[in-house]
Point group: C2
Chain length 252, copies 2
């Protein structure tokens, strides 16, 4: 158990619109949940501005510290779409027009005004890259080495993730079970820590809330081992009930 290989991914969110507060990010949560299903753990996220050097720096830090790196944003046709150039710079390789991406864009734009210089920008890839296709926007995602370059628009990123599902090596999926309890977490903090220490390979997270005038908390147990997870959550419920706490069998 303790020696089981943990596969990790970094995520780099590229875009001034996130850092300015204009746009509420949706990609962290959707990519995190998708990675769990692939048996890959999201290890770190960085959000960086549309500045080539800043993107390259984050890309190099995250791709070397993790098995995989995912990026979102900056792969459209406009002047602020510089992700491909930044990643090529980070890798020290050139940028080329991918013949298949060009053909896909030409087909997509055939009855939408035809290809032009800006649209052709979306066929540019780091040298040696493969495409991640999607049938909505015409512009593909890109895989180069252990880096997966996805769209920033969440529903297009979703399609690119679907195209990758089951195709990337990972370990066992991270499982989780949640129980709710009508208790201030500060009254059971000691109990939570003791329970976690008694169950190797399990982590317990505590997430308090205020609802209908009452204080409660959801306790989330996470593990890659289903048996260990079930044992831990059962033990946690028993310990809480032995203290007279009102446990709900699912997230409140």
């Amino acid at each position: 158990m303790a020696d089981e290989r943990i596969w990790t991914a970094g995520l780099c969110i590229i875009g001034d619109e996130i850092l300015s507060g204009r746009t509420q990010d949706r990609n962290i949560a959707q990519i995190a949940a998708w990675l769990n299903l692939q048996g890959i753990r999201l290890s770190e996220v960085r959000v960086v501005p549309d500045v080539e050097g800043r993107i390259a720096e984050a890309v190099n830090a995250l791709r070397t510290a993790n098995d995989y790196l995912f990026t979102t944003g900056g792969i459209g046709p406009t002047h602020d779409d510089i992700t491909v150039d930044a990643i090529a710079r980070a890798l020290g390789i050139g940028v080329v027009v991918h013949p298949k991406a060009r053909a896909m864009l030409e087909a997509y734009y055939a009855d939408r005004g035809g290809i032009n210089e800006a649209r052709l920008r979306m066929a540019r890839v780091p040298d040696g890259a493969e495409l991640i296709e999607n049938n909505l926007s015409g512009a593909p995602g890109i895989r180069v080495g252990n880096i997966f370059i996805l769209a920033g628009v969440p529903h297009i990123a979703t399609l690119m993730l679907e195209a990758l599902s089951g195709k990337i090596e990972g370990g066992r999926p991270l499982l989780s079970r949640t129980i709710g309890c009508w208790v201030p977490e500060s009254e059971v903090a000691l109990l939570l820590g003791e329970t976690e220490r008694a169950h190797e390979g399990c982590q317990i997270g505590s997430y308090p809330f205020f609802r209908n005038g009452r204080v409660g908390a959801n306790f989330v147990v996470r593990s890659i081992d289903e048996k260990a997870l079930e044992d831990c959550i059962a033990d946690l419920a028993t310990r809480l009930e032995e203290e007279g706490r009102e446990v709900v069998g699912a997230e409140i």
Copy 2:
């Protein structure tokens, strides 16, 4: 203009619940928008797990690269709340119980079961820190040097931001104006780049969308100079209309 000092902040989001996809982050967008009003630019965000060394590493990178660092999460009473210890470690200083925080917690919990060891954890601060009060949870935020340690629960973080409003030195607020246009961004990409280059101190972002079966884009101009901003947005609208594009005077 070009020499005007730009004040920047980093943001470190601490919590397994964000990296697991369980919780949709709300703090990036709210802190980014609040920082704009203070005349401070959000320069980078990192999301890191509940691991002391990982938090300390991100804290040191972000606090030294920026004027300010904000953190969210990990300041509650349970075993996974390790932000104060991690930041003290990053700074190479000790952790002490803050007398005023202790008094606040004792008062808050007087008719809620009294203080206990777990609750007292929330009075622990890096040595020399000041408190950021809020009257909702009893547990204060913490300021130490250029670091602001906020709650992870978004509406408690909001109260802590309100307590800081107007009290942190910044520059001129970053202003923005948006116009919408019923055009595929790839047809006006060249125009956007030319317009940006013609207006020093202005950045133009392009955010495409599909709505009611039509393709469009919102163009966001950002600048700290109101006159430059207005000139740029007016010029952009003129150029789009001269090309026969359907411009809407506000975000679509």
